[in-house]
Symmetry: C2
Subunit: 352 residues, 2 copies
DNA sequence: GCCAGACAGGAATAGGTTTTCCTTAATCGC
DNA sequence: GCGATTAAGGAAAACCTATTCCTGTCTGGC
């Protein structure tokens, strides 16, 4: 309409491009999207105009038209903490490949806020929603009959009709303890987080299962549940050493705990790993590498958890129905020095 | 057009609401937005219809029309790490109040990827862009003549026409050392990160300034630059203790370093804080609280950095022009036991 | 020379909302 | 009782793009 355009660069529309190239809007659209029958020369003229104007097609208009926005919402209740971030990055990897942008929402653990954010996402017509969080107990579903698919990652919906991707904590516990057994330990204690955390119980279950198969029992009779803190690691190790002085390995439910355990062991004169092996959980590098010696630990593959969840969401968006259920992603053992000498690290044998 | 609607709940449009309420589309819009002249009875009828259908106005259409999307892009090069997350949450606080949603983009430190993401954001017609990063190091501008305002937070644009919000690292260094002087320390060493980091140099500058004013000098003559790691903290403390055995305080450029320093001090038989006071930087709670004793440290107020940056961005979106420049947010000292007994913590004196 | 078909590009529509302008009916003032 | 004003709500344009359908022109075949 008016020729007086604000000094600040104003985003060009396809109308501007068409005018500059001397064609109609429809033709410009076809030229830019490689559709229709056009002379190569015309296509090039439109492309040049678009380049000159720095044209970027307005995604809103496109979304309105096609009924797909190529966006998803990411709702987290972990304040984007240590756990949800790798998940998020994994998801972004999977989604970014499909040109999908991510709206992030932090619920601050407030259900009201969460409901509101889901409403907002729906108003923005996201194509799907990813819910992530800190893994405690299964959480209430964010909505049973939403118009878009939903996938839970690193947290689990209480509604069996929802689909969740979580780490295999039982398997992680098994992995850790199998490694300890394989390196000759038999008097193995377990110091871990609060019992109300499903993850803590499952890791302990995994441990119990492997010990049981080997005809053994946990040192101290059962897992020591406490907190996810170094301080508890120190206390727990203290108790364990007093009641089970002959313990030769400690499996910890978190790297923070392992770190506290390691400190107490050293102060009590136990050498790691010679006298007592220590193994952590999470592979939180700042903790695991800062510890002395560096911690062998179980990595939950959170990046993969995020990627798998996003892949499922993409499939669902693409129309492939997802039933309810849970998919577990395997954990991985990361070997460092707290459980024994590293046998020939990654460098290949020069004689080979 | 067709009456055969897919079984899956389909988002209701204002047309459905209008039909159900028996009014025209325009009237429905006015009723829902409190505009125009309508009978209260009609308004209520429309509202009821909207409630019944779970109507959420399509934000795409609205954005298309009004030229504002109520979204901003958040571009980070920190992989949403320890520093950018508090910034992000602060920003979300400020933006959420204005009903603004956030697109998150992680550049993975790849300039190509970054350019691409900025293009995508512009195509999505965000109202503004927030750029955040790991450290305050000046970085290349994301674009000099973008059609939307840009604010940098916790990172700094090399272009003086851009606006950046960063923590006041010099002030943080001053704060730390002034506290040490106030508690009677005079032989103060400084162990910190790599010299190529502006933040490291500025913290050292703040320290030097305060010492200078007091007629003192750093123990060891100057700051010990190294790495942001516990290992370097241990090494650095070792060196410092050998060359300056009478040191009575160590200011560390990061909590990780402080933690390593504290460990070495204890192993060399120095009591903290009685013989040597230790002070960290970052207030990374997992580190600061796990250390023994818990670390006094400098908190960069990252949440506030994010909030302030977002406030500026909002103002700019609202039309208020921002010039280039840098705004610094004050640091804050968090007192814990590594610099002396906590004098009557937060609980008020019962005799008062 | 005329018709069929290909070729190049234009016109129009849809998508959902907001806003401006209009229409209709009712009320007021004299 | 009649013109003028107000109340209540409808019709249509605008935002920007992709697509479908349509028009006009040119070429080739007979």
């Amino acid at each position: 309409m008016s020729d007086t355009i604000t000094p600040g660069t104003r985003a060009a529309t396809i109308r501007d491009v068409a005018a500059l190239a001397g064609v109609s809007i429809g033709t410009a659209s076809k030229a830019l999207n490689g559709r229709g029958k056009l002379r190569p020369e015309t296509r090039e003229r439109v492309a040049a105009a678009a380049r000159q104007l720095g044209f970027q097609p307005n995604t809103l208009a496109r979304g309105l038209l096609r009924g797909r926005t190529f966006t998803v919402g990411l709702v987290t209740s972990d304040s984007f903490g240590r756990f949800s971030i790798p998940v998020m990055l994994g998801a972004e990897d999977a989604l970014g490949a499909g040109q999908i942008s991510v709206f992030m929402c932090d619920t601050r653990d407030d259900p009201i806020r969460e409901r509101h954010q889901v409403q907002t996402l729906l108003a923005r017509r996201v194509d799907g929603i990813l819910v992530t969080g800190r893994r405690t107990e299964p959480r209430p579903s964010i909505g049973t009959d939403l118009p878009v698919p939903v996938v839970y990652a690193m947290t689990q919906s209480a509604d069996p009709n929802d689909f969740s991707v979580i780490p295999d904590d039982i398997g992680g516990g098994e992995l850790a303890v199998r490694h300890l057994l394989a390196t000759g330990r038999t008097r193995i204690g377990h110091i871990t987080g609060p019992q109300r955390f499903l993850a803590a119980r499952q890791r302990a279950d995994g441990m119990a299962k492997v010990l049981d198969d080997a005809g053994l029992q946990a040192a101290g009779g059962a897992a020591f549940f406490g907190e996810w803190s170094e301080e508890w690691g120190r206390q727990g190790a203290d108790i364990l050493l007093r009641t089970q002085p002959d313990v030769d390995a400690i499996f910890c439910g978190a790297d923070q705990i392992a770190r506290g355990v390691a400190e107490t062991l050293r102060e009590r004169g136990r050498r790691i790993p010679d006298d007592v092996a220590v193994i952590g959980f999470d592979n939180w590098e700042a903790m695991a590498l800062g510890s002395r010696p560096p911690l062998t630990t179980v990595d939950m593959n959170l990046h993969k958890v995020g990627r798998v969840a996003a892949d499922h969401l993409l499939a669902a968006i693409g129309g492939q129905p997802i039933g309810g259920g849970v998919e577990e992603v395997e954990c991985e053992l990361v070997l460092r020095e707290s459980t024994g000498p590293i046998s020939q690290p990654l460098t290949p044998d020069p004689n080979d």
